[in-house]
């Protein structure tokens, strides 16, 4: 059985679901960030799969993937900085404990 | 790989196709996993001998003539030593770390052109591959340090991670000038671009101003990446015992050493390929024997770079952590960016001689200016209040 686009889409969907479940169920902010990274990667994998199977001639999809990776890197940097700042404030990284909007 | 395949096709055309493929795969792999660990073993011996001579000692000379069997004795000793795992350690990670330490280092050799047309795999993203793979060694250091459940190990691991992440940036930027000059990321193409000229020497990139600066920056970055003195604060024995491999003994320790040395050797090979002409040298393009001569050139240049690293280890003191960081971010990073501009300038100036002079002077001025900006003022002779 040869690998088709469908396989990759299913894989990416599964990864996305895992990431989503992690982000929704876990309490630790860092794990939530990890789960978000998984979702990001699943999406980028989709882009590359589409590029490979459908539009092999132009590199637009790869461009998109690269920009997504860069944005993900920036996002994780900002996210972790926020986590550290929150940890300094609350002495905890439990997302359920961050209820107040006012510092 | 392709070279061997073609050779097989011309010399033994009767072999079935899969066997030919298999041989052409197996020969480079066997070459890498046999030659480079051998070089590793004897590099340790050379290092100990050279350090001894630098300190007016003899170095190992007991096992075999001139201590030539010393690496074998060391290996046997490390193999037979007890493998200790701390009781509180994270067993699985502790076991995995030395394995992971070796894998990226061995993989680095996959893209090294060791001779004229002799490259295990000619990746068109060779340099990027080198950087991506050498990043992986950070993980091994972190895993080893973290899994040991030891303050010193963890400190060493954190230092290692911070250092490698910091020095990767100027190292990549320093390598960029070569990519700019050749328009390719493949190490084989880069090596080929440096052939020709007077005795196959004059086209080496190290003889251009930007090439020389890039060479120095890349060497510094490579030394920091493989945690060699003066950048060996991850394993600074006077501060944190042995850093991340404090809790390792026996063959796991040997694997860590192997990984470290292999990374060092591989980065020396990459340095040679990118700046010192790779396998190019007098006679490297002769027919029939050219591949052997070029291999000789490559390995002798590589050993030369390794010797310089050892020499530096025998001479310079270790830098402090804050010095390490500020040197990377305030000195190397601006310098490598300036170097990229210099390379671009060189590329677009019509008269190469003029370009050489202009870029050389410009880089010197920038180096001097950066040094002035970063210096803490004149170093005065230290006086002691209570002495005399």
């Amino acid at each position: 059985m040869s690998i088709t686009l469908g396989h990759y889409l299913a894989l990416a969907a599964m990864l996305f679901t895992i990431g989503l479940a992690g982000a929704l169920t876990r309490k630790n902010a860092i794990i939530v960030l990890v789960a978000i990274e998984i979702m990001f990667n699943a999406a980028i994998l989709n882009l590359v799969a589409f590029w490979h199977f459908k539009v092999f001639t132009t590199l637009t999809a790869q461009m998109f993937a690269m920009f997504s990776i860069a944005i993900a890197a920036a996002e994780s940097a900002i996210g972790l900085a926020l986590v550290i700042a929150i940890y300094r404030h609350y002495r905890s990284v439990d997302v359920d404990e961050m209820k107040t909007l006012q510092g | 790989m392709e070279t061997i395949y073609q050779l097989l096709q011309t010399w033994l055309p009767n072999l079935p196709e899969p066997i030919m493929r298999l041989i052409s795969f197996a020969v480079p792999i066997l070459f890498v996993i046999s030659v480079f660990p051998g070089i590793f073993a004897y590099t340790t011996l050379i290092e100990r001998k050279a350090l001894g001579r630098i300190q007016n000692r003899l170095g190992p000379n007991r096992v075999g003539r001139w201590g030539l069997l010393q690496p074998i004795a060391d290996g046997m000793k490390l193999l037979t030593k007890e493998d200790i795992v701390p009781r509180k350690a994270d067993k699985f990670t502790h076991f995995l770390a030395p394995v992971i330490a070796v894998i990226p280092s061995v993989m680095l050799f996959a893209v090294l052109p060791v001779g004229s047309g002799l490259i295990p795999v000619n990746l068109n993203i060779g340099i990027l591959f080198v950087f991506a793979i050498s990043t992986g060694s950070v993980l091994a250091l972190f895993m080893g340090g973290w899994a040991s459940r030891n303050k010193f190990s963890l400190l060493g691991a954190m230092r290692a991670v911070a250092q490698v992440v910091s020095y990767e940036v100027p190292m990549v930027l320093a390598a960029l000038v070569v990519v700019m000059a050749t328009g390719s990321l493949s190490l084989l193409t880069i090596a080929q671009a440096q052939s020709g000229g007077f005795l196959n020497i004059s086209n080496w990139f190290v003889f251009q101003p930007w090439g020389f600066v890039g060479f120095v920056l890349f060497m510094i970055g490579a030394m920091a990446e493989s945690a060699r003195t003066p950048f060996d604060i991850p394993e600074a024995e006077s501060e944190i015992i042995a850093g991340y491999h404090t809790e390792y003994s026996g063959f796991k320790f040997a694997l860590f050493q192997l990984g470290e040395y292999l990374a060092s050797i591989a980065l020396a090979g990459v340095t040679v390929t990118m700046f010192l002409g790779g396998y190019n040298g007098p006679g490297s393009h002769l027919p029939y024997v050219g591949w052997l001569i070029s291999m000789g050139w490559f390995f002798s240049k590589m050993m030369g770079v390794i010797f310089i690293v050892i020499w530096i280890r025998g001479t310079w003191p270790r830098v402090r952590v804050d010095q390490l960081m500020s040197f990377a971010w305030k000195m190397l990073l601006p310098m490598s960016i300036i170097n990229i501009f210099a390379a671009a300038l060189y590329h677009f100036m019509p008269s190469k001689f003029l370009a050489w002079v202009v870029t050389a002077v410009g880089l010197l001025i920038c180096w001097w200016g950066l040094a002035k900006l970063n210096s803490d003022g004149e170093i005065k002779k230290r006086t002691y209040r209570y002495a005399n």
Partner: protein, 168 residues
């Protein structure tokens, strides 16, 4: 290609599942690295060599290390989490939401409208092309990305240093 796909997919899924379920934070990140490696393997498999290398370089070399650093800066260094996760309302609702969304997406894929799109097989993914595109057609997004990364850098420093600055 087929065998490689299944193996790499298994590794990727395993890494993802472990990354969101393991108790120890550091183990989570190590599993995440496994996941990233799997994704990079998929990129290589899909002939996007450059993306694969970038994936390793950025995700494993930078993001994972960053997360490890964040763990070291926030939790106790052993990375052990507190009490076991409570399977309360939040957990069940979260898991149910994820399951429903996953089911929807998979159902959409099962419809398989996409495979009817025309297929191309001409490989063209050289780094040279990517580089040329980046500074010609895509130069504006590229520069915007540069600005974004700089802003992120400064923003991260400011957020993380806020407390320190206030204390001074």
């Amino acid at each position: 290609m087929t065998t490689a796909f299944w193996i790499i997919s298994a590794v990727t899924l395993l890494g993802a599942v472990l990354a969101v379920t393991l108790r120890n934070l550091v183990h989570c990140v190590l599993a995440l690295i496994l996941f990233f490696l799997g994704i990079a393997g998929h990129y290589f498999l899909l002939r996007a060599d450059f993306l694969g290398v970038v994936q390793i370089l950025i995700y494993i070399g930078a993001v994972a290390v960053l997360i490890l650093f964040a763990i070291m800066l926030t939790r106790n260094v052993t990375g052990t989490e507190g009490p076991r996760e409570v399977f309360g309302l939040k957990w069940w609702s979260g898991a149910a939401t994820a399951a429903i969304i996953g089911a929807l997406v998979l159902a959409a894929i099962r419809r398989d409208e996409l495979s009817k799109l025309p297929t191309s097989t001409q490989a063209n993914s050289s780094v040279l092309e990517i580089g040329k595109l980046l500074v010609t057609d895509w130069v504006v997004p590229f520069e915007a990305m540069a600005v974004l990364l700089t802003a992120a850098l400064i923003g991260a420093v400011v957020i993380a240093l806020e407390e320190v600055l206030r204390r001074r």
